[in-house]
Point group: C2
Chain length 343, copies 2
């Protein structure tokens, strides 16, 4: 780690992702000179733990970014739209974990294992991709480099923590209610701000995020657009179906990818095994494959069920699991911040 | 319904599927002259309810099939292998719900909405396909007839009831334990007879059934092989990834299908709306799509999230939900039996 010490603001410090960012800064020995946890007026005055001390949360006003070197944002898109320019104006570099700037051509969209070189092109804001995109591109990067591909079809199995800490509480409360025969309250899933809410306990909801004109959801279109941008390759065609399942932490993905050249499976496994940020856990005959419940709290992207497609011998099927709050959000953001400090 | 009355044996009458077969026979006013519930010696002597009466379960011996016209089997593959020939020898027609005879070229594999005409070709045994195959082919049949297709890529979200009543109890017990911070006991999932068992509560397990030589699971290969056989079209290429999720009843499937001719989406929706056994629930803008929790107990196959693929304009994406114990097992078997009686 570099020795330069920086002042770090964490916006949304009391949320599900903010909490993981603080843990990550601590665990990765990030060179924090001063930590400034920020949140809405409602949460200001609370405290968060950092390196064994209680730090008071401040209200996220424009002036709260005075003197900040790096600001990690995860308080929702509209707040990012309003406050990121203010933070940049005051000299901070913003690593934004929302959808606000991801497709802005002036904003690098970065997964360090894939396109760390884009970080230097920032104009004050660097975007952290969507959780479901991040884990997929980390798993696909070694295949892209060694074999090339232009076609991906993915179906996701997404944890409720993608919708925040309240959604995690909702799943648990609904599960308790269902098991004791009580009425199930539905207030958040699938999308808090939409009209209709459905039970997620013992259910599967084929909607993450709002609907788009073309019948896909925003979550699905994020995977389509962000994958092209991160690889810097508009020829990559992604089809996504995003589904919420009753899992607290950890997204899983069933990924079909058509490679551009012939391969043998051991070559694929070697590429995955050697890839930065990837852990290969792949032996169906020994019942070895990653599962979200056991990967919660881990930073890597786990890949299993690697198999040659039965129809197209150039295609591969993969099962990709990662903690959506960590590599899917907090860890990736802090990794970007680390690269910033190194530069 | 025809007026001919028949003697019906239900083998596995005390199991999760057997129970649903009895309900189905009752609800569909199947012309049962005599019901003969059969099970292992362990369950013999218990009673089951049928048309308001308690009927004693008999031990499933070869002679128990004397005088039986139609025998509905769902007590596991090895029992079918042993007893189906005995039942046939005694004059019964067997509708077998296990994997024992599905790929036998002398045994029709039937989903009435797709290939009812195959029933007449039986030599005593008719096979009921795998649950995840049945709901997919019912949804795909109208597309096959109107547009043709030869390529399907499917990822499943399968309920634990596919592994029987004990697996349903396991999911509930594990959920209770997790929520109260107690130790989670793992005895059944993902596959009872295998060495390793994993929690399914708040988890996703990318394994249904045992592993095959090619790295796919048997459940995945069932979808590949059975789809070809049911459509009678070896050119259909299916890629399947089968995943167990913490749902009690109702399988869901994310289906990508490449049609052979151009289409407009309304034409597709009309074909689905008019198809036998299909209920279209499709309007993402109104948050209308099927979900397994609300479809438990219903006989139809529900289809939503119908959308043109963003990459291949000839491809469609669908979300298909059905109760795996009903259309995926009991209902399909009883529908076959109805056709047998009509013939």
């Amino acid at each position: 780690m570099p020795s330069q010490q920086v002042t770090v603001a964490v916006l949304g410090a009391t949320g599900a992702v903010g909490e993981q960012i603080l843990k990550n800064l601590e665990n990765r020995s990030f060179p924090v000179k001063e930590l400034r946890p920020l949140a809405s007026a409602r949460s200001a005055g609370k405290t968060v733990s950092f390196r064994g001390e209680e730090v008071t949360v401040l209200e996220a006003t424009p002036d709260a970014f005075e003197g900040v070197d790096i600001a990690l944002f995860s308080a929702g898109g509209s707040i990012s739209e309003k406050l990121a320019p203010e933070a940049v104006k005051r000299g901070a570099v913003v690593v934004d974990n929302t959808n606000a700037f991801r497709m802005d051509p002036d904003v690098p969209l970065v997964v360090p294992e894939v396109n760390a070189h884009e970080i230097k092109n920032h104009h004050g804001i660097i975007a952290n991709p969507n959780c479901s995109t991040i884990q997929m591109v980390v798993a696909l990067k070694p295949l892209y480099d060694r074999f090339g591909f232009d076609r991906v079809i993915v179906s996701t199995y997404q944890a409720v923590s993608g919708s925040g800490a309240q959604a995690m509480e909702e799943l648990q409360a609904q599960s308790r209610a269902y098991l004791s025969g009580e009425e199930i309250k539905t207030e958040i899933m699938p999308v808090g701000k939409l009209d209709k809410h459905y039970p997620i306990a013992f259910n599967a909801i084929p909607q993450c995020d709002v609907a788009q004109e073309n019948g896909f959801t925003l979550e699905e279109m994020k995977m389509v657009r962000e994958t092209k941008k991160i690889f810097g390759d508009e020829s990559i065609g992604v089809t996504a179906t995003c589904v919420r399942v009753p899992v607290l932490r950890g997204h899983s993905e069933s990924v079909y990818v058509e490679l551009k050249r012939d391969f043998d499976l051991e070559e694929v496994r070697t590429a995955l095994r050697e890839a930065e940020g990837v852990v290969l856990e792949d032996d169906i005959h020994q019942q070895l494959y990653p599962m979200p419940l056991e990967k919660a709290g881990q930073d890597e992207v786990f890949v299993g069920r690697v198999r040659r497609d039965t129809v197209n011998p150039r295609a591969l099927n993969l099962w990709v699991v990662s903690d959506n709050l960590l590599k899917g959000a907090a860890t990736n953001a802090v990794q970007i911040a680390e690269k910033l400090v190194q530069q």
